[in-house]
Symmetry: C2
Subunit: 407 residues, 2 copies
């Protein structure tokens, strides 16, 4: 009994230490993310202001990105796949130079108008940094635990959504398996990263939905149908990305030729299609949806195709912000069709297409809550559940594992 | 390509069918739960009205419960442990007679004043019924899937919280492993069970918290501390229950003698301690907390001890409703100490002690949202996360498994 109590106290002490360690680690990641985020906002502003000076050079920027990564990237070229491999102990090395390389590549992609996100990079930055620090820390399973911690902090620092970040990091590595061993430091690091980034001026998107629509059985059926469509869209995005990458890789074997030739085509397309409407993150489209500006019925499809082309060509950046955009614009269109307020339907699409594309359920629900307010959490639950079940387990993270009980 | 599309359509069709199957199944479970819930409310009302006619016969009721279960229970005596074993395919038989036996035993326990819950029984009823139906259904892994589906429907029908019910059922079998294969039918069945039970007059507790308290770093630290205390309390409950059962089983080998002798002691204690204040579910105490009536600083401790004695003696019922009560009364006490509004602190305790005792994270967070409103979801997230990490993986469900990545 006394021995057991002593053991308990030791465990509690170790847990507290693990939690406290997350705080400075998260703060450091939050600082890096804030700098990265500011850099991306800056280059985006430059691109928007000088579109005709930037877009024509997209293909050239692609050459630089591919060449630099070929020369200096080493194993780091694996990007998110490498993070997953390290999490499964199939790899043990995450070179620190991934951080500047990924930052630079993403900034170049955005400066010259590629359609891409940032979270893949944000999560990588956090993971690489935290894994590096974790290797030196005297906790049991420290590297694995701090890898997940860093992923959470990276997500939280970039998006300002600490709860979704924790859940995303513990949930994303395998469908249906939660990495709870990292729950505590991921939690403290996410709140810390988010606070530091916020102090440095990086605020989360706040698109609170203010409407009142009570849940009837008929609405429930419409929400489930919406969820199924969002899930299939997210899953299709992941599927198309994988197969387009493969197809282009086979057709144009030289990566420099590949990025250059597709870069040229993309430059022309981005210019022709409403002068850069589909460049970058797509936050312009999300804002259009929620501020009642013009949204075309095909916005989501064009963003979908152009993001896949950008990323398959060899440009860098994440997929999540474009998934948000695709979801919000698709949701806006479907809202009208389904007789659901456009604002709500767009918010649901924002979260559920993200869930469908990343094959995550809970992260998507909590993204909904943190970005759009918690009042509509039951709606996010309904729609994201349908999306999760119907995405056919496709994920933009090709190394994500399935478990025995995946759906 | 065409073949792949056909395969996708077949999969979608099968999924839709699985989802639709959940609806009547959930409705049936909801009907049974509503009857069971009405029975329990009825016997509770009788006991409250005629306390001195009921309480003295607690020991006799115990004799009946143990004798009947010995004679007719068979394998069903395993209760929740049997459900877990079936979920892990270590057993394949769940006798239907578990349903009337568990109902009867629980009703007797409550009529004569034992301190116990109902959810263990609600979940068993749903699981047994749905497993029985699932065995006849032509889906892949149907028995396992419908077992989980029934657990969700049982929980939803009893508590009127369909979202927490889905998450609880897919989460509870193993710490960190989600049974997503059952997600869709569990979802449809839970909403259906909850709707049917609601039509039959079983409403969920609605204790919406209406206060405004913004999240500062200092409050965050206090919330984490609260969570740690709640988690340790929940974990301790599970630990004490297990060890008290074992200890009494060794000390008093004959189960009839055991239930009778402890029943006599319990009768006396229940009468002496404020005339039945600690009998039954404890909803009287929860109401006292939220309606501003008198709450003693030791209410939670007495409810804790008396519930453990009741259940260890051989009486039947669940542990969850008492965990809610213990959490709410403990939270009310700690709220004053920590300078957190009592209403909020009690709500957080309600959810987090449940999470700590069942070793579930997400179910506890969503219980918080569904019972107390979603405005405070971030607070529930913070407190339940701390509770989950610090409960030392203790669970009232002794057959719950741990996974490689449990915390």
């Amino acid at each position: 009994m006394k021995e057991e109590l002593k053991k308990s106290l030791r465990t509690y002490g170790a847990l507290l230490l693990l939690g406290v360690t997350g705080v400075p680690l998260g703060a450091a990641v939050g600082l890096i993310e804030a700098l990265f985020c500011r850099l991306l906002l800056k280059v985006t502003a430059v691109r928007v202001a000088h579109l005709f000076w930037c877009l024509p050079f997209l293909a050239m920027a692609g050459l630089v990105i591919v060449a630099v990564n070929q020369k200096f990237g080493g194993r780091g070229k694996g990007g998110m796949s490498l993070i997953f491999d390290v999490a499964y102990e199939e790899e043990t090395e995450l070179p620190l130079r991934m951080i500047p390389l990924a930052m630079l590549s993403t900034a170049l992609t955005h400066l010259f108008g590629g359609s891409a996100g940032r979270e893949g990079v944000a999560v990588q930055i956090g993971a690489v940094f935290s894994y590096f620090a974790g290797k030196k820390l005297p906790f049991k399973n420290a590297p694995g635990i701090f890898l997940v911690t860093g992923m959470a902090a990276g997500f939280a620092g970039m998006f300002g959504t600490p709860i979704a970040a924790v859940i995303f990091a513990v949930e994303v590595l395998a469908a249906g398996e939660m990495r709870y061993e990292a729950l505590l430091p991921a939690f403290t690091a996410s709140f810390s990263a988010s606070a530091v980034a916020s102090l440095l001026g990086i605020r989360k998107e706040n698109l609170a939905v203010h409407i009142s629509e009570s849940l009837t059985p008929f609405l429930l059926v419409r929400l489930i149908t919406l969820g199924i469509i969002f899930g299939i869209t997210g899953g299709l995005f992941a599927w198309c990305l994988k197969h387009t990458k493969k197809y282009l890789g086979e057709k144009i074997k030289n990566p420099l030729v590949r990025v250059f030739s597709i870069g040229v085509i993309l430059s022309i397309l981005f210019l022709l299609l409403y002068r850069g409407r589909y460049c970058g993150f797509g936050t312009n489209l999300v804002e259009a949806v929620f501020h009642g500006e013009k949204v075309y019925a095909y916005d989501w499809a064009l963003k979908f195709i152009l993001t896949i082309l950008t990323l398959s060509a060899g440009f860098q950046g994440g997929e999540v912000t474009p998934l948000f955009t695709i979801g919000a614009t698709l949701g806006a269109v479907l809202g009208n069709l389904f007789g659901i307020p456009v604002e709500l339907s767009a918010a649901l699409g924002y979260a559920a297409v993200f869930g469908g594309g990343t094959n995550t359920l809970l992260a998507a629900i909590f993204i909904g809550g943190e970005i759009f307010g918690y009042d509509y959490l039951p709606y996010f639950f309904i729609v994201c559940t349908a999306a999760y079940v119907f995405n056919r387990n496709s994920s933009i993270y090709s190394r994500q594992k399935l478990t025995k009980y995946s759906c």
